[in-house]
């Protein structure tokens, strides 16, 4: 297993573009701390974002995982190209000839993806912990360590998303087209949802079906955190809107995303096995 990771590490780390993207990704993860510096000071209106409670435990787990998950696109580029470059350089052929089995090949990519997700999760955990300890109004142990399932959701979300990227890289074999396909797919999910609700069934049932789409299932893992902010809640109450949403992630939402991740990895393997190189 270590050998497979080392193989992938040599390939990635010697590629300047990948190296730059990976480093920028982790710098961006850290940069979430900069949000604390957002301050508006316009005469009577004084606004310091850090004072609005976004760094309060346990809310910070929700907020930070949601925001940092947006940066996953950087790694998506790395992952799609690490897969499709093997095709364009024909190095996949040479790897197999040199004695890597097709299973090991997919496994080395999967292990890399899981490592990326794991390191990101640890990173977000550490950054959030530090920010929380500085800014949070509540510092009791029990509160700090509640709602940690957002971190697990973050991990699953990244693994599922990156597996999708891997699969697209193998399927399309060209990184630019694969990324285009990714965007196309996200639009497609919305279009299908729209068509279902408009023509085929009620909007409620369409919404249920939409939750089974791959990208939607991944975004369901961490729901938007903004309406949970007290400031936003206050405004909501003033205009008489009930803003009680369910923020928690349910076991079946995890299950759907994990099933999709497994399907993508399995399909990648099948594709690789069936294709002549």
């Amino acid at each position: 297993m270590l050998r497979l990771l080392q193989i992938e590490f040599i390939k990635l780390w010697n590629n300047r573009a990948s190296k730059v993207l990976i480093i920028s990704y982790f710098v961006l993860l850290t940069s979430i701390a900069l949000i604390a510096a957002i301050k508006f000071d316009i005469g009577p209106v004084q606004f310091h974002l850090a004072d609005q409670g976004i760094f309060n435990f346990p809310y910070i787990w929700h907020f930070n995982t949601f925001v940092t998950a947006l940066f996953k696109l950087f790694l998506a580029i790395v992952i799609v190209s690490m897969m499709s470059n093997e095709y364009s350089n024909k190095t996949i052929k040479q790897n197999l000839i040199d004695g890597l089995s097709k299973k090991e090949f997919i496994l080395s990519k999967l292990l890399t993806v899981i490592s990326f997700a794991l390191i990101s999760t640890v990173f977000v955990f550490v950054v959030s912990m530090i920010l929380g300890l500085i800014y949070s109004d509540y510092n009791e142990m029990s509160i700090i360590f509640s709602d940690l399932d957002f971190l697990f959701a973050f991990f699953v979300k990244l693994v599922a998303f990156f597996s999708f990227c891997l699969f697209l890289g193998i399927l399309v074999k060209r990184s630019a087209f694969a990324l285009g396909f990714l965007i196309l797919w996200s639009i497609l999910e919305q279009v299908v949802f729209g068509l279902l609700g408009w023509k085929v069934m009620s909007w409620d049932s369409a919404r249920i079906i939409k939750n089974f789409f791959p990208l939607q299932s991944m975004s369901n893992l961490i729901k938007e955190p903004f309406t949970r902010l007290s400031a936003v809640q206050n405004i909501g109450q003033q205009i008489g809107e009930d803003m009680k949403f369910d923020y928690h992630t349910y076991w079946y939402e995890f299950l759907i995303a994990i099933v999709w991740a497994s399907i993508f990895i399995y399909l990648s393997y099948v594709l690789l096995k069936k294709r002549d190189l």
Binding site: R3, K11, N15, L96, K102
Partner: protein, 298 residues
Amino acid sequence: METILTVNHLTKKFGYLTAVNDLSFTIEKGNVYGILGPNGSGKSTTLGIILNVVNRTSGDFSWFDGNTTTHEALKKVGAIIERPNFYPYMTAIQNLKLVCKIKEVPETKIQEKLELVGLWERKDSKFKTYSLGMKQRLAIASALLNDPEILILDEPTNGLDPQGIHQIREIIKTIASQGTTILLASHLLDEVEKVCSHVVILRRGENLYSGPVDSMLASHGFFELRCGQLDKLQDLLEKNASFGKIENFNGTLTAYLKEEMDAESLNKMLFEKGIILSHLVKRKESLEEQFLTLTKNN
């Protein structure tokens, strides 16, 4: 003799096209094999199948004693297919280290192999800066990293300039002289003739011949003869049962043998009959002539 590779009734179809048709042959340790065939005769497809990158339609093959999986066996094989494939952004050393990881061999051989192919001074240059000849030589170095039981080369001199071709041939000869089994696919007959002891000849995916180069045709060779009394000579030879076809071309007689005869006894026989030769050469058909005969007749 130890068997390295056994191929049994291998068939590969690309849709309606049959690239390899019911192909069988075995590779024994210590010989240098050539796979011959015109372009599109299925050479590369066959190599692709035994190297695990092309899926077979039917038939089977086994490496060594048949007890190892193909990808484990490939760790004891060195192979280059068509074009050298490496990571363009990595240096020669980095690329070879990666191969060592894949083949699970220590990195200690890298220097030795790079020196063998004459690339040690350029070890820290990126692969993409290499010329085609250097790329091909790096591929050979990479294939040798594990001191393979068998070296498989597919068109190793394709696209190279004469100097590059010469360098690659010298390297192949060096490797062959060290006792490594070599399987060389090529459509360049003189290339195969120069290094191979055994050949497999393919045409449209079918096996026309496999065996030693010498016994490819049941031929005893031919004489090229010149003398002052050409008509008398031709007459004499036509009556001799040892000779088959006799051709007269530009004052030179070419007499094909039906049975073994050496030049000395022919010379003696003709002298006794009063014919004095001005030119006497005994030759075997070149591989090219044999190949053309073989592919024409079938």
